[in-house]
Symmetry: C2
Subunit: 276 residues, 2 copies
């Protein structure tokens, strides 16, 4: 593992690291914020999964999460959103290929050799993080924005016991019924729709829900509402009597101005679960 940069930030350290990934068969880069408390012992970990077109860097510089994490004594990890590099397949569209991994393990050509973001986030990166940093891997939570909100919710519901709490900012909530989803699931997983269901948080919520609290924030003026389909997830959460809150935020759009506004609430929400 290679250290790309380390910056003092809110009394802790915002680092960026690169490593050879077995899951993705390429070098992968991630950001990790360690709060001051990490100097003296392991701290809980909150995952932040990013959206379409993002790298590890967007949320790290624009989500204003480090201050709240430092206050709570929680580490933050910012993974990349896909494999990258010259030998890695890509597409001209912004919503397929590099920058658009959708947190699935691709089975179809040309994506299968590298696009294994589910495996990477669920299996490889946690082992690496636990081995190299002062993190208490028994206390993990997960959040994300847009495609990353989809990732957070689907990972949390398909890895029971892994995350104590899950939240999302404007998640892609029902990809099997959206143009943000069908195209990508077809490309990565093929036409067998049974393989799609475990990557749709509305369907997963109907099926078994999440064994812990959920917090969803959605901007009411989000320009992508028709692609995100929050109403499907809200209905599924209510039907299941899922512990949690679905909040529709008047006037907010899909940007990081929205994410940063509610970051304090999300970190506090996860802190409550992580330190319970």
């Amino acid at each position: 593992m290679q250290t790309k940069s380390e910056n003092r930030c809110f009394g802790g350290v915002q680092g960026v690291y690169t490593h050879a990934s077995n899951a993705c068969s390429c070098d992968m880069t991630f950001g990790l914020f360690l709060p001051p408390e990490a100097d003296t012992g392991p701290v809980p970990l909150l995952w932040y999964l990013s959206g379409l077109t993002c790298t590890h860097e967007n949320a790290m510089t624009k989500a204003a999460a480090q201050g709240w994490a430092a206050e709570a004594g929680i580490a933050l990890v910012f993974p990349d959103t896909s494999p990258r590099g010259e030998g890695v397949a890509n597409d001209e569209a912004y919503d397929l290929g590099q920058g658009a991994g959708f947190y699935v393990d691709a089975t179809q050509s040309p994506w299968a050799p590298h696009f294994r973001m589910y495996d990477y986030i669920a299996n490889e990166l946690p082992v690496l993080l636990g081995a190299h940093f002062p993190l208490d891997m028994d206390r993990q939570a997960i959040t994300g924005h847009s495609m990353g909100g989809h990732g957070a919710l689907t990972l949390a519901m398909t890895l029971p016991g892994r995350f104590r709490s899950v939240s999302a900012f404007a998640p892609i909530a029902h990809p099997t019924e959206s143009d943000w989803g069908r195209k990508q699931l077809d490309a990565y997983l093929g036409s067998d729709h049974d393989a799609w269901t475990r990557h749709d948080s509305t369907l997963l919520m109907h099926e078994h829900g999440f064994d812990g609290p959920i917090l969803i924030d959605q901007g009411a003026s989000d320009q992508f509402l028709h692609l995100l389909k929050p109403e499907a997830l809200a209905q599924a959460m209510a039907e299941r009597r899922q512990d949690g809150a679905f909040r529709m935020q008047k006037g907010y759009d899909h940007s990081y101005f929205f994410v940063s506004t509610f970051m304090e609430d999300h970190v506090a929400f996860h802190a409550e679960a992580l330190f319970a």
Copy 2:
């Protein structure tokens, strides 16, 4: 004036606007954050001047200032750092020309026709802001980072009565004695060093100081310490018995991770002066 974007942010609005500038003889773009209080009446204004290579956008997305400004009920303006466009002179170096206006009014060729950032910030933009937005222009304060910290300090000390308080993050503190300064002052203002003195905050501090409180934060691990020369300004502040604080922050570098860490303190510092 043209609205480029408006995003809901911490209950207020983060806007971006473009206008034809008389001072700079080109179109200029700025960001303006209005807190929720601006819906019901004029609010005080805090200027944020950015550093080398920045546009209006960097601090707007990376400084994490809006949350604190919303809490305090203060507007934030994020001007660009230079004139821009096809007809505007430029230089291959990152530290001269577009993105590097140094907040002076150039008298030398080829810079004189457009590079009038002092005039723009001191005269044109305040009039425009006061005319178009619910701002209380009798209550202004100013801050900035690096070259923008230099701009904030020199504007505050050469416009007595304009700003109630001034602060800076890692300012270029003594440009007449630094490679971040001599080159640019020579290019923009020529070899008459008398014209340089009103653009050097250490010299201005020696000469007359600032009639109000000053807050300076400087990272002790800043990679540009030898160019910023904070010790010269600290000495001048102490000699003058200047009201204020010069804080050396252990472990911090020159990045926005440093700026965002101390933004809460700076907004609170200005709020105290603006609402006194």
